[in-house]
């Protein structure tokens, strides 16, 4: 049966709440379903003690979730917009990420911070950002970016079972996407990238909300220019599966990285550097990146469209990469 990204996330939460009494959900409005409806119905099923509304206190609730994880719960905290993770950064970066290390392995932090990123519909500069590169920069955190309903389901289950703090970044444009979910339980392998479309002319690396767009762009490049691109969904930025990218490059010898975040200091820079370090000789052309303009996300729809990567820019980049280089 076709399931939306939202419903897929809910199924993962539901199954994990049922499986393990240590799993608890907290966040603003979560007992009422949360701002995007992901937790709808769970408080009715598991009680408001396990699906717990919090005040609008991102710093304290994140710190509380870290302390609860250290003391043996497996909290799933919802931070409504990734933009507000700025208020939780001490707790994530200084506390959660370093607990295991600074305690010499005595304690770990089995915490999932579910949050939601990306631009859509004029949410503007404080409700649209893609801040994953910040988080990827911190040793001790895992960063997971599900790109489809199946991925959302399997990766959220994996994240909840992980003993380290995971920032789980959903994308607002994906919530309504639908596809068939596996009938039986499935836990996605964390740390293994996924080849979404096989191809031989170029490798396009992407993740999260850009993945469907890149797949569409690859289809168009094939139809219009005869370019057969391989598309890789990284699934997680930490762990970063460079091996799968390099294996693809050994066939295609050309690399494009696409993300919605700005290019400066972004995931694309890291992927490009890691590939250049280990597979420079495989490259027949300079590595290209497509990302948002180095601009806050604008409000007016015309401007929002102007700064974000779109199908045309991805197709153009593929043409440059394969035909011109």
């Amino acid at each position: 049966m076709e399931t939306s990204y939202t419903e897929a996330l809910r199924r993962a939460l539901d199954e994990e709440l049922a499986r393990d009494p240590a799993v608890v959900i907290l966040g603003e409005d979560v007992a009422a379903g949360g701002a995007f409806g992901v937790t709808r119905g769970l408080a009715e099923r598991y009680g408001v003690e396990r699906v717990r509304n919090t005040p609008i206190s991102e710093a304290a609730i994140t710190g509380l979730a870290v302390g609860a994880a250290v003391a043996g719960l497996r909290p799933v905290l919802e931070v409504m917009f990734i933009d507000f993770i700025t208020l939780a950064m001490d707790n994530l970066v200084n506390q959660a990420a370093k607990y295991r290390y600074m305690s010499g392995g005595q304690l770990s932090v089995p915490l999932v911070v579910r949050t939601q990123a990306g631009a859509a519909g004029g949410a503007a500069a404080q409700h649209s950002q893609s801040l994953e590169a910040w988080l990827m920069h911190v040793p001790g955190l895992l960063v997971v970016t599900p790109s489809s309903p199946c991925e959302a389901y399997g990766l959220l289950k994996a994240a909840i079972r992980q003993d380290d703090p995971v920032v789980f970044i959903e994308h607002k444009r994906l919530y309504s996407k639908r596809e068939d979910l596996p009938a039986s339980e499935w836990v996605a392998p964390l740390g293994q990238a996924r080849v979404v479309r096989a191809g031989v002319d170029a490798t396009v690396v992407t993740y999260g909300g850009m993945t469907p767009l890149v797949v569409d762009a690859a289809a168009r490049a094939a139809a219009e220019a005869g370019i057969d691109a391989e598309v890789i969904d990284l699934r997680s930025l930490v762990p970063l599966d460079v091996d799968t990218v390099v294996q693809s490059l050994q066939r295609t010898h050309r690399l494009l990285v696409v993300h919605e975040a700005v290019q400066n200091g972004g995931v694309g820079a890291e992927v490009a550097a890691r590939v250049a370090e280990v597979a420079f000789d495989e490259l027949d052309a300079p590595i290209l990146r497509v990302g948002a303009a180095f601009t806050p996300i604008p409000f007016a729809p015309e401007l929002e469209r102007a700064v974000l990567p779109d199908e045309q820019r991805i197709v153009s980049a593929l043409l440059r990469l394969v035909k011109e280089a």
Binding site: S57, A59, A60, T62, V66, G67, A69, Q106
Partner: protein, 331 residues
């Protein structure tokens, strides 16, 4: 004589012993730090030992403890062995945290010491979380968090008071109000002299005590801990005290009022307890013997810690991730 507990000589002696342990330990750490043998920043709690000893004496082994950058005393008072704490402060593999944490980040999970943090105020919501875990599991266990008056300037302190009150979390907030944060007096931080004033609007029961009177601290902590266990909600203990040492080892203390320091030396919590015990008829030789036993234990610990190996450089990246079974690929 400040409290009904004063008649309990065993208790008084055990408080004395703990305060001596902390005092001697930190004197030693101070010497080592001044000699350049302690990496990083070292904050001593000299003059504030009565708070650590008095509060922790009320706790059970399974109760959770959190602290901040001035955590040596709290950690020892919760029961951590002198050798492992000292080895950690010296950055040794045999330290509590295998030399990964150091003076500001002591953790002793087995004894409920779930963490000290170098970020002022960062420990407060963590304690709420541990208390919440106990609440969710229906355990008879509370979380205690020690912090300074300076931490009350941090937003997360205020968020945490609200949250602890709202969720009826079994947390004891313990503010060591020593009237100064780093080099700046309380009056320059806030118009509110007593941090416990902030707890009152949230309907959190508050006690303010002379933090240099260990029996007063003990008695108040006992009452509040009892309340937390019974009522299952938070309580707030504010201890007025004074830091006799610098903010950190090496602090030139230009901000320090000499007359004030001299006055507080007279109120040294350890000397006060000593006088009380002597007045009660405890033989001076008994106190000397207790202190001597602590001195010897410390000397042994120092020998062990000093000669212990540092962590191996090849292990610098161990303990970052757990790499649980479910994760096929480690980061």
């Amino acid at each position: 004589m400040s409290s009904p507990e004063v008649g309990n000589q065993d208790l008084c002696l055990s408080l004395y012993r703990m305060m001596v342990r902390i005092r001697l330990f930190e004197e030693q750490v101070g010497k080592l730090a001044a000699a350049g043998q302690v990496p990083g920043l070292t904050h001593l709690s000299t003059g504030q030992e009565a708070v650590a000893a008095g509060v922790c004496a009320v706790l059970r082994p399974q109760d959770y403890l959190f602290s901040g950058h001035r955590a040596h005393g709290h950690t020892l008072a919760k029961g951590s062995p002198v050798t492992a704490v000292l080895a950690e402060i010296l950055g040794r593999e045999t330290g509590l945290c295998r030399g990964r944490g150091g003076s500001m980040h002591l953790v002793d999970a087995a004894r409920g010491m779930l963490g000290a943090t170098g970020v002022v105020g960062g420990n407060i919501p963590l304690a709420l979380g541990a208390a919440w875990a106990a609440q969710v599991r229906g355990e008879d266990r509370l979380a205690v968090v020690f912090f300074g008056d300076g931490a009350s300037g941090n937003g997360v302190f205020h968020e945490s008071l609200n949250l602890a009150s709202l969720w009826r979390l079994p947390v004891l907030f313990v503010c060591e109000n020593n009237g100064v944060a780093e080099f700046t007096q309380r009056e320059e931080h806030s118009r509110v002299a007593f941090t416990s004033e902030f707890a009152k609007p949230y309907d959190i029961p508050v006690r303010v005590v002379d933090g240099n009177d260990v029996l007063a601290v003990y008695t108040a902590a006992q009452a509040l801990v009892h309340w937390v266990r019974q009522a299952g909600g938070p309580a707030y203990l504010e201890c007025q005290t004074y830091r006799l040492s610098g903010h950190y080892v090496g602090d030139a203390q230009a901000y320090r009022d000499k007359a004030e320091l001299a006055a507080w030396r007279e109120r040294d919590p350890l000397l006060r307890l000593q006088r009380q015990l002597l007045a009660q008829g405890v033989p001076a030789a008994e106190l000397t013997a207790q202190a001597e036993a602590e001195r010897q234990a410390l000397a042994q610990a120092l020998e062990l810690a000093r000669t212990a190996p540092p962590p191996a450089a090849a292990e610098a990246s161990a303990y970052v991730y757990s790499c649980a079974r479910e994760t096929p690929t480690c980061p």
